[in-house]
């Protein structure tokens, strides 16, 4: 049985749930969102990633209806939603501060949104019970928000915003206040809930690992613009710019000039006394064009002997070793002073490690290991 991969963004017939079309938002002279165009599809788990102040919250608040775009079009399920007040949108938001009503119990908090509609009492009670069960809060239904722990509060906030079965759920840094262990558990919980309810989630996070874990697609933003939208592996393996490559994970950037070597293969002249590196690229580069080779540390191997099979090899000295438990990162200084980071898995015990400080080593990688970027 073949399972269809979930990739509505590749299907031209698919209608997006949310459409941003040239949306700009200004606060006075300050442009918080700059000419943004974006489609988000039903059942997606969409993550917004970017440095502080790049406009993530602003985008969410426009979707929820707390801010109106200065110009451009915003559609939800094919309908223009500009000007619709927040209480009339089938969009719910989970607030960063949770915004639980302190004077209401957990049960009443979850029921709050349901009571705004014309639902009868019994249906409300049933729905609240269902949400309590989903978020494993049944035991705490009668408590006030200040009588439960941080993680439980976060689940109440989630249950409350999911109770109305919105088409779209917005989560603004939902896990920011949790410790790492709880955060990881909750991430999987969120994914389960997203899958079982079929709701579209848009999540803001500062934690790139979190974005990679939960999201079907990730958007990297900077200064009100979207720099790249792609699946987590696409963002990681094929960043479209140095900015994205640098923002997500660890990366070596080697600057140089490109020289075509035929059929999507290029030489990169990066220093005078060493042979050029060989790299492949889908984007064409002209002869002598400036280029950046972005290559992840774990794609670089480090050996004491010069390997014969690798396309790119260069010698250096080990400057520093960062021991991370499961991994070690070696900082290798090349003859021209550049530092290359190479990462290896620690499959053996520390004492058996063969490479140490000041050792002369070879770093090497394949032509397809990195990507060549214009800027």
């Amino acid at each position: 049985m073949s399972q269809k991969i979930f990739a509505p963004w590749d299907d031209p017939n698919e209608k997006p749930l949310i459409r941003f079309e040239n949306v700009t938002k200004k606060f006075g002279d300050f442009t918080a969102i700059d000419d943004l165009t974006l489609n988000i599809y039903e059942k997606e788990f969409f993550a917004l990633l970017g440095p502080s102040g790049c406009g993530k919250t602003t985008m969410m608040r426009m979707l929820a209806g707390f801010e109106n775009p200065t110009s451009g079009k915003m559609e939800l399920a094919g309908k223009n939603i500009a000007g619709t007040p927040p209480n009339k949108r089938a969009v719910n938001m989970m607030f960063q501060s949770y915004a639980l009503f302190p004077h209401l119990s957990v049960w009443e908090n979850i029921a709050f949104g349901l009571k705004r509609g014309s639902m009868d009492k019994r249906a409300i009670a049933a729905r609240v019970e269902e949400m309590l069960k989903l978020t494993r809060l049944t035991k705490f239904a009668g408590r006030k928000p200040h009588q439960i722990s941080g993680g439980q509060r976060q689940r109440v906030a989630l249950a409350r915003s999911l109770a109305k079965a919105p088409k779209l759920l917005l989560l603004d840094e939902p896990l920011g206040a949790l410790d790492k262990k709880l955060r990881q558990d909750t991430q999987f919980e969120l994914m389960d809930i997203q899958e079982s309810t079929g709701t579209t989630f848009v999540i803001v996070t500062h934690d790139q690992e979190e974005a990679m874990t939960v999201a079907s697609r990730v958007a990297v933003m900077d200064e009100g613009r979207i720099i790249q939208v792609a699946t987590p592996d696409g963002i990681y393996e094929a960043p479209n710019s140095v900015y994205v490559a640098d923002f997500i994970g660890d990366v070596n950037i080697i600057e140089g000039t490109a020289k075509p070597a035929g059929d999507g293969v290029y030489f990169l002249d990066w220093t005078e006394n060493e042979p050029p590196f060989l790299a492949t690229s889908d984007v064409p580069f002209s002869d002598g064009q400036k280029a950046h080779l972005a290559i992840r540390p774990e794609k670089i191997s480090i050996t004491t002997e010069k390997p014969d099979d690798a396309k790119n090899t260069v010698q250096g000295t080990v400057l520093d070793i960062a021991y991370l438990g499961n991994l070690s990162t070696y900082y290798v200084q090349l003859a021209d002073g550049r530092i290359i980071k190479a990462q290896t898995a620690n499959t053996r015990r520390l004492s058996r490690r063969s490479i140490t400080w000041e050792d002369k080593v070879w770093v090497s990688w394949n032509a397809t290991a990195g990507v060549l970027l214009e800027q």
Binding site: P85, F95, A99, F101, G113, K144, H146, I148
Partner: protein, 273 residues
């Protein structure tokens, strides 16, 4: 913990003696049987008995209470609205004037407020009496209410209101169901403040009252101008007693709530797994 220094203890002891000694003397001498207030002639409660016989005082007390209840309730409604407008209203025409009109009455000498209101009431031909006092008291005490309520609103987490809107509340429902219950303590203390201000006011009431509506402070005033009187001492003692009991029990309640909230927190942390 800080050690109480000799200087600090002295400053506090002398300071509080200065604040409380006059009132303590007043209370003690209200139980003096002599008509000569400063000469102790034995314990007696006869002045309290006489006070209760004095219909003029009782009538004045009833009028004062009526005025205070009406004006503090009106002031609470208006003051809460004004606070909401100040904190959440955003920009509107004449906002500066509005906030100026909220803060100015707080420091305006009572003689000026009283005089100006009296001239207004005469100008529009409104008969002076209970109604005019209520209007006058509402006007200055709504400003106190709005200062108290707006200081609470400023620290109020705006996202709670937004969450209510997000869950389908109209703006009015969001206020009624979320904001109001949370700021209720501030609204209540605003009401109490307005109430005591109204009970206490002499100058503005003197300007805006009519012949048929003498309030208690006006009554007390005309009595104390003639010197110390044991009846007034008794009346003062009653008023001081009510306030003391009220303030102490209010602070006990709020302390108990704080302790309870802390225990809840600890219980929650223990219960969290």
């Amino acid at each position: 913990m800080r050690r109480a220094s000799w200087f600090n203890v002295t400053a506090l002891t002398l300071g509080f003696a200065f604040l409380y000694l006059p009132m303590v003397l007043l209370v003690i001498y209200s139980f003096n049987s002599s008509k000569l207030v400063t000469v102790w002639a034995g314990f007696s409660t006869k002045w309290y008995g006489e006070l209760l016989q004095n219909e003029a005082f009782l009538d004045a007390a009833v009028i004062t209470l009526k005025v205070a209840v009406a004006s503090s309730t009106l002031a609470t409604i208006l003051g809460t609205m004004a606070a909401y407008v100040l904190v959440r209203g955003g920009r509107f025409l004449g906002r500066t004037l509005f906030s100026g009109m909220i803060y100015a009455p707080l420091v305006m000498p009572e003689v000026i407020t009283g005089l100006s209101l009296l001239l207004l009431f005469i100008g529009i031909g409104l008969d002076r009496g209970v109604l005019t006092i209520v209007l006058a008291h509402t006007t200055f005490s709504m400003c106190y209410v709005s200062v108290v309520v707006s200081s609470r609103l400023v620290s109020f987490d705006r996202s709670l209101e937004e969450a209510a809107l997000d869950l389908g509340c109209s703006p009015f429902d969001a206020f009624r169901l979320v904001t109001l219950p949370i700021i209720a303590p501030a609204v209540i203390s605003g009401w109490l403040l307005a109430f005591t201000l109204s009970l206490d006011d002499l100058v503005i009431a003197s300007f805006t009252t009519g012949p048929s509506s003498t309030t208690l402070p006006i009554k007390i005033w005309s009595a104390v101008r003639l010197g110390v009187s044991p009846e007034i001492n008794a009346l003062s003692t009653i008023m001081i007693g009510i306030v003391t009991v009220g303030v102490i029990s209010a602070s006990l309640v709020s302390k108990r709530n704080a302790v309870k909230a802390q225990q809840d927190m600890q219980a929650a942390e223990r219960g969290a797994t």
